[in-house]
Subunit: 404 residues, 2 copies
């Protein structure tokens, strides 16, 4: 088989961890597989580099920041190559530009355009383990770019797609995808498998195991993903298009997202297109709106509530303030004391009883629902932030029981 | 003018020093010049990276070691770019591969083959300060290489040649080239100018300001070099082909080289070609022999003494031992307790009195000469190592007086 493995920053943080990961890679190679391993920067390297940069310039240009940050993964792959060489494994390390990973020029959040697989294939055919810098590429001008959050996962999936790899294993510090955050929810269970669509919802709802972009890319190119632990030798969670009936669960997880804020725009003129203009304005500024609740109008005016990422709140508020006259609303309230709790499951819409069970669980726990939204495979509610963990636990208990 | 400036590792060791160097670069740019600045890795970065490597592999492959070490200069140029941006100076940082600096594949000691000046020129024409990673390039396979000792100086001179720059300034932690090491010789004077050939001799004789390779390259392409201080604003020493009569001195410096060993091969058969075979053997193993003294033969045998670099002594001894029978000598003695002291000057051969003055100075100081050798612009003597500093001082006093 041809296998792409990805190891995150905590998996390569020091010499001992590099040795451990080298052991995993070498074992895969000795089993007769071709291996490409994609690595992130070691533990705190990126933070240290950013601190060095800030000492010189509080707002460095994105191009130079990318040029600086690209060294993090270069250090990881070269060190890992040395560890594998010491184990007698022929190995070669390659940077983003060396594998011809082309991106657009959005420094710090670049999108992959193409990967020239020639060098990768040549080294694999020569029998070598190939180590690749995650998170980085080059643009048309030949400048180094970074892919932003979740970038190394995205690199790994893109490389797996370009090479037609049989699987792409994402090694991380958790053992897989769980029905809820195991640190906070007693009885949270590891899923054997989950569909791309469910994983997308779980990821966007605050499950940090895989970034959305990498799951989207895997779905588009049909790359079989597996999330598994760098530290515990055990099967992880497989992410793929079609689950077998055995693997399929009605609900695959309960997730919490506390990094949101609720905006309430009061007294918006109740005429066609008023809300549309509001949302077009936000969307034009790259601000994504999630849950939306529009009240029935009275006296020719209505209220609109919506949620957005907390990081975008200051920008969104400034934008709405600046356009208050044009939009014609009367008041704007921002509430950051909220959280979204969601259930995700491919079978959700086929089993209408699920919503009832969720609401019952919340009611019995005495928790108030502020807003509700649903999609084909997701049902979300907005609550006070302080109540979010209790809500996740109550819902999880209702669907999955109390543990062993 | 188009100026290439090079700053070494100690000149960019921390944020404060980077700011200082950024000031020098910005000042040159504001004076209306085009500036390319070539940087080394910060202070201890290279040593830290090597230590990380050794923790994983006591003998990493040269290819991966180069891949690792290349990040040092990338950090320097990106940080310097940020410092210059903060001063409002449009700047771009470029790696070895981005400027198309092609080398052979001798990792760790690669030789420059060519530089594609296109990107460099494009950025200069766009009005930007261009920062370039010294010490590094790529080979034909697209792998990163490093140039070895003095590599950043060599990069700077090669870039100056490729761009037809008007001058190449080497900024360092000394103020220029001195008539002797100012730390040990009272009255050592800074030279206003020195010829390429004299600089080559001074460099190979232990003056560490400029590496031989960079001076050779400057001579070949007629690049005017200037050695000056990153810390003191003062004119340095210009290195060029032809000095003006004002600049020319009969003796340009006194140098000491203590990193040598003397070999004495006793009882070599006194027949044609015997010494030649000995030296061919050493030369075939890349061991350079410097001073040579052959005694007059007696009873069909003669003794040969010669010096070589101390680093090569173990290898040379093993080689001669292994070939003792074929060479037919009777005994081999190695003496590492020696040093070479030399005077260098373009006018040396035209002023035969110089040798006399040198020997007088040594005799008056009670120092014994073991061997003598001369070239067109150099006169060297071998002494006991403990006497070398006294010899340099005595000779320097004789030629340059006692200082202010």
């Amino acid at each position: 088989m041809r296998i792409v493995q990805k190891f995150g920053g905590s998996s390569v943080a020091d010499a001992a961890r590099i040795q451990r990961v080298a052991g995993i890679i070498a074992e895969t190679r000795r089993a007769g597989h071709q291996v490409v391993a994609v690595l992130s920067a070691q533990g705190d390297t990126t933070d240290e580099l950013i601190e060095k940069a800030r000492d010189l310039n509080p707002a460095p240009s994105p191009r130079e920041l990318d040029a600086l940050l690209c060294v993090g993964e270069q250090i990881s792959v070269a060190l890992m190559a040395m560890a594998l060489e010491a184990m007698g494994q022929p190995t070669v390390s390659l940077t983003g530009w060396q594998i011809g990973l082309r991106t657009d020029s959005r420094h710090g959040a670049a999108r992959i355009r193409s990967i020239d697989g020639a060098r990768l294939l040549q080294e694999l055919e020569a029998g070598k383990i190939v180590l690749v810098c995650g998170f980085q590429g080059i643009d048309e001008a030949g400048d180094q770019t970074t892919l932003g959050r979740g970038g190394s996962d995205t690199s790994a999936v893109a490389i797996a797609a370009a090479l037609g790899a049989d699987k792409c294993q994402i090694y991380t510090d958790v053992e897989g995808v769980y029905t809820a955050d195991p640190r906070h929810v007693p009885g949270a269970r590891k899923l054997a498998a989950v569909s791309y669509d469910e994983m997308l919802e779980l990821a966007s709802l605050g499950n940090q195991v895989l970034h959305n972009r990498s799951v989207e890319l895997a779905k588009r190119y049909g790359v079989d993903l597996e999330v598994r632990s760098s530290f515990v030798r055990a099967p992880g969670t497989v992410v793929k298009e079609e689950l077998t009936p055995m693997e399929r669960m009605i609900i695959s997880g309960v997730a919490k997202d506390a990094d949101i804020a609720r905006f309430t725009v009061r007294g918006l003129p109740d005429r066609p297109g008023a809300a549309l203009r509001l949302f077009a304005l936000l969307s034009g500024a790259d601000i994504n709106v999630d849950l939306i609740l529009q009240s029935v109008g009275t006296e020719g005016r209505s209220d609109v509530s919506f949620t957005l990422r907390r990081d975008d709140a200051v920008k969104a508020r400034a934008l709405l303030d600046a356009n208050a006259a044009a939009l014609g609303y009367r008041a704007l309230a921002v509430d950051a004391d909220v959280a979204k709790v969601s259930i995700v499951g491919a079978g959700l819409m086929d089993a209408p009883g699920m919503a009832v069970r969720m609401f019952e669980a919340l009611a019995e726990a005495g928790l108030n629902i502020q807003m509700i939204a649903s999609s084909e495979i997701k049902l979300s509610v907005l609550l006070r932030r302080a109540e979010a963990d209790a809500a996740v636990q109550a819902i999880h208990r209702r669907f999955f029981g109390d543990g062993e």
